[in-house]
Symmetry: C2
């Protein structure tokens, strides 16, 4: 059985989209859903829609659907806010669980905002916390009994290198540290089983492989047995046991809902909910097999054509997420030239050309065609055109 379902997405004619790891494409059903939410729910029901359209439980319903994709039980995933905020929540809670320790361990491959949020939290707490960021390969050895929390992004956003989630979680727990996984490049990309892993927290975004749209809400998972001991740093009213009691004292909900904060973004949550329809019957093992097949094919086809490119991703598919990166000193310009030819990948400083593989809407013919364009751009020196040198604000 194939996981390919191109008909669910509205991809433009002539585009080979290898950037679903950055922003997934528009699911066709999301347009009608947004219209329905706006015209019928908001427009006609107005404030009543919190009850009549059950907006109030939408964050939980969407969380449960994400839970099924990351191996988390119903009720254990809260949605809303941005990934940065969810990182902060998880990290602040984790430090409270380990009050005698002062080291936050992450790595150089973590996405910058995760590191920034840690820096901001350290500045806020204003005690002698230390953020350690060894190279990804050295993380396992850096898990000592000084470490309060290990906070890692499962799949490296630049190289696609994947941490061994089970081994690192085990090492963290053996050292008495709390484990937080950022699944930004994992959810909907590779099989994840939060329950089996035993990590305390996971966070992630939904605009990449889950196709929730630009600025779609983030999610946070907390292991069910620890939920009631979490002291929320971001103690918003939607995480209160009874939000509409308007109690002046905060009493956290006795569920993962305590990790909700403010009023949920109903429109974006609804679009995400529509996007998640595509995932109802996806077997993540099949998706993973297809992803590795497509990625391996791309590596082979590009390497056969382009000796100037150096593979930055692990060659072994089992150690990669669902992306392939090449280093090229003119990588920025080369990506612009590719985009001009309808092959959309992206660039990450300083020299990474990045391509995402999303078997829901890419097949082997797409990959071969994309690799052909890469060959032309690199070998014919199309990247040398001065128009490709000017950097946009967003790269």
């Amino acid at each position: 059985m194939t996981v390919l379902r191109k008909h669910l997405f509205d991809l433009p004619e002539g585009v080979l989209y290898l950037d679903g790891n950055s922003l997934g494409p528009l699911p066709r059903n999301a347009v009608a859903r947004a219209r329905e939410v706006m015209t019928r729910e908001w427009g006609q029901d107005l404030i009543r829609a919190w009850n009549s359209a059950d907006w109030i439980s939408l964050p939980t319903r969407v969380g449960d659907r994400i839970g099924r994709i990351i191996g988390a039980p119903a009720g254990s995933v809260a949605t809303g806010d941005t990934l940065s905020i969810k990182v902060y929540q998880a990290l602040a809670a984790a430090l409270k669980m380990n009050p005698e320790r002062r080291v936050i361990l992450s790595d150089q491959g973590n996405f910058p905002t995760d590191l920034y949020m840690a820096q901001g939290l350290i500045g806020t707490i204003d005690k002698d916390y230390e953020l350690r960021t060894p190279e990804p390969e050295l993380v396992a050895d850096a898990i000592t009994d000084e470490v309060a929390v290990v906070m890692l992004t499962h799949v490296d956003y630049r190289t696609g290198r994947m941490h061994d989630m089970e081994a690192i979680t085990r090492a963290a727990h053996e050292a008495g540290a709390v484990m937080i996984w950022d699944l930004a490049h994992s959810a909907g990309a590779v099989p994840v089983d939060m329950s089996a892993t035993g990590a305390e927290f996971a966070v992630g975004c939904t605009y990449k492989y889950l196709n929730g749209g630009p600025g779609a809400p983030a999610f946070i998972y907390a292991r069910p047995d620890i939920v009631e001991s979490i002291e929320p740093a971001l103690a918003g009213w939607m995480g209160h046991e009874e939000p509409f009691a308007m109690d002046p004292a905060y009493r956290p909900a006795m569920s993962t809902e305590r990790l909700r904060v403010g009023t949920p973004p109903i429109l974006q949550l609804s679009v995400l909910d529509a996007a998640l329809d595509a995932w109802d019957d996806i077997d993540m093992v099949e998706l993973r097999a297809a992803s590795i097949r497509l990625s391996d094919l791309f590596i082979a086809e590009v390497e056969a054509r382009c000796p100037a490119l150096t593979l930055a991703s692990p060659r072994d598919g089992a150690q990669r997420g669902s992306q392939v990166s090449f280093r090229f000193d003119q990588g920025y310009a080369a990506i612009q030239a590719l985009i001009d030819r309808g092959v959309i990948g992206d660039f990450r400083a300083p020299d990474i050309m990045r391509f995402g593989f999303t078997p829901l809407y890419l097949d082997e013919d797409d990959i071969r065609a994309a690799a052909e364009h890469v060959g032309t751009v690199i070998n014919d020196g199309l990247w040398g055109d001065p128009k490709y040198q000017t950097r946009s604000r967003v790269t």
Copy 2:
């Protein structure tokens, strides 16, 4: 000149909507805008839309439009996240500006989430901070030289009572405290001039009088002269000086953009942007005059009919925001009965019946008709029907 422009809104037939202070109605142009953002920008441009549709500067463009409504200069308002998050950002920054002091002064009339966020921040910092919440009338006298920050909601969400923004800000500054105003029930409701007030921070939401839709993004204003000294607690990548440099060290933007956090909610920001079109030629002084006229009329019409109701709002329009509240021990049921008759207000525990006045889409005939229904519901005891007693999850 009138500020009435009913044609801009898609209000359902037979509804008198007196709850725009909770969730504004659907602006007609927002539906087409959402469709355009989804099908053309996201659907066709995909990741390129960050540049081609200038998504990256949308939070700032929307912030500038809100700035014009609250008397804040261009570039001084950042948008995104929820109001709860923006409260946390402002409060954390304010405490850093006054490191020797330990008292956060708010009041009993503040919206609970503001108090909860303060409690969560205090728990996170874990020093001997104290949150003081006197009755609203006693706040001015409670501003002592122990107070690090005064954090108040300008218009009380229950009673509509309005603080004297200039006098309290002056008192806060004389006592060496930082001033934060929550404009949730002010922005688009009453004239506000942040520049003249001199307060360091203001925060607010946009789904009430600004009609941005359910879960629309929040905003934060910082006084331009202090921006560069703010140490962001929520140090997200979108607040970095160069987000796409992917620098592992956080360097805040040298503008209010340092109060951005994660990836902005483009779809909801776009809908809000469309909603703000209605505000382009609104004179806030005229709007305020209309709001007081409608509110005074409602009070007169209801009091003439319903001796059982007690006015909970200030009788003097100058001391009220753009809402009128009555106390009634069967207020919950009475509001349900009114909603059944198409008059939509809302209830706030324990006994407040709340009605919002929004001169963009309400006129005097609407107010008279609504008051007539209130009279019938109260005097004919329609609230006594058992079906109105069952509380919904959202009240």
